[in-house]
């Protein structure tokens, strides 16, 4: 989750999110270089008192400042397209999770093994424990196995919601009457928080998502217990 004074992206828990962070850093570096160059030019112009009063045209410089940005854009576009296609790769998920957005909570279904279903409500601030995270903690977390490809199908029961977990680089809109599918992969254990990302009414800010990533054997134990109960 975001910790205090977090300016940048959250640390990744997924290889795809890692690649997104690298691309973000790469593009930002190029932008910073361009900004420094333009800022320097403007600064130096401020202190310049010479004027070329017979200046009419500069064909060479115009060619340079057309071709050079095109090359810079190429350096941005190539990693971007690589990442775009990487995000769409076909892989074989080992488990499917269904997430249904309601006003104002999420409900989850694990249909691979004898229907496990539950609702996930935010814990109100006045019921929070001493170390609870305000507006983030939920009563029932989604437990998922780590180091496994996971397929998620997101939909909604009433209005459009959006299922987001920034640490995994996942944001999928849940539209009523439609199933949106995406895959992700969690490569470390822990808790990963997210919040609904499509305005859905009065309590839109109060329907968070929490994923509890555990080793596979713990997951199997948990899901067996859930089926039995």
């Amino acid at each position: 989750m975001s910790t205090w004074a977090n300016l940048g992206l959250q640390d990744s828990a997924s290889p795809l999110m890692e690649q997104l962070i690298f691309f973000h850093d790469h593009a930002l570096l190029i932008l910073v270089m361009i900004t420094v160059l333009v800022g320097y030019l403007m600064f130096m112009l401020f202190f310049n008192s010479y004027v070329n009063r017979f200046l009419l045209h500069g064909q060479l410089i115009e060619m340079i400042w057309t071709i050079l940005p095109a090359i810079i854009l190429l350096f941005i576009a190539m990693p971007s397209l690589r990442l775009l296609y990487l995000l769409d790769e076909i892989n074989e998920p080992s488990i499917t999770l269904k997430s249904i957005g309601h006003q104002w909570y999420w409900s989850y279904e694990y249909s691979d093994f004898n229907n496990v279903e539950f609702d996930s409500y935010m814990i109100p601030t006045n019921e929070l424990s001493n170390d609870g995270f305000r507006l983030l903690d939920v009563d029932n977390r989604i437990v998922l196995p780590m180091n496994s490809q996971i397929r998620i199908l997101v939909t909604a029961a009433d209005v459009i919601h959006s299922w987001t977990v920034p640490a995994l680089g996942v944001k999928v809109d849940g539209t009523p009457g439609r199933l949106n599918q995406t895959n992700f992969f969690i490569n470390r254990p822990g808790l990963f928080y997210g919040q609904c990302s499509e305005i859905c009414g009065a309590n839109h800010s109060f329907m968070p998502i929490v994923i509890e990533s555990v080793p596979v054997n713990y997951f199997i134990k948990w899901i067996s217990n859930s089926v039995n109960s």
């Binding site: 910790t3 640390d11 170390d131 609870g132 808790l191």
Partner: protein, 187 residues
């Protein structure tokens, strides 16, 4: 051919007639048309060059140091000094030189190139705006806003921080990466 010569002679005579009958003033060139707004503005002032774009306009400008027209119109006082100018320049007094300059030009380089004090006004307005904005923000904070939620209490924040570290949140470059798990202290 003779018609052309007659025409040329007539034009030349006309030109000679419009030259002022003065002693040693340089030839004044007049534009061909008299229905010219720019010409109205420049009045009777002498045209002495091309200027910025050929129009008889006066402007004080570093990029084009010699305007197309003189700044002032011809006066009797000027004519006297012009006569003196034809002789030895060392005979000209400072007043004469200044008169000649101010007749042709409005301001000196020092006068039209100096910094204005506008920046003081801009800085002043900027500081005043920042101060007033700060006062408004402070008044909102102390008078308008609700108190912060109970999760902002120091003991609860410490408990949350302990939980963040135990959960190893942002362990790569974030908060947990600054905690040494062997010694249970910050790095």
């Amino acid at each position: 051919m003779s018609v052309m010569r007659a025409l040329g002679l007539r034009l030349h005579n006309q030109f000679q007639q419009v030259l002022p009958q003065r002693g040693a003033v340089m030839a004044m060139m007049r534009r061909g048309t008299h229905h010219d707004g720019t010409r109205l503005m420049s009045g009777d002032r002498e045209v002495v060059g091309y200027g910025v774009n050929g129009n008889p306009i006066y402007i004080d400008c570093v990029e084009f140091p010699f305007p197309a027209i003189r700044y002032r119109e011809v006066t009797a006082e000027l004519c006297a000094v012009r006569e003196k100018e034809l002789g030895d320049w060392k005979a000209l007094s400072i007043q004469d030189k200044k008169l000649l300059y101010r007749h042709s030009f409005c301001q000196t380089y020092a006068e039209f190139q100096h910094f204005t004090p506008d920046w003081k006004l801009v800085i002043g307005v900027g500081f005043w705006s920042a101060a007033i904005g700060l006062l408004i923000s402070l008044s909102y904070y102390f008078k308008l806003y609700d108190p912060v939620p109970e999760t902002y209490a120091e003991d609860r924040r410490q408990a949350q921080l302990r939980r963040i570290i135990q959960l190893q949140m942002n362990p790569i470059t974030g908060l947990s990466s600054k905690w040494c798990y062997h010694t249970n202290k910050w790095k």
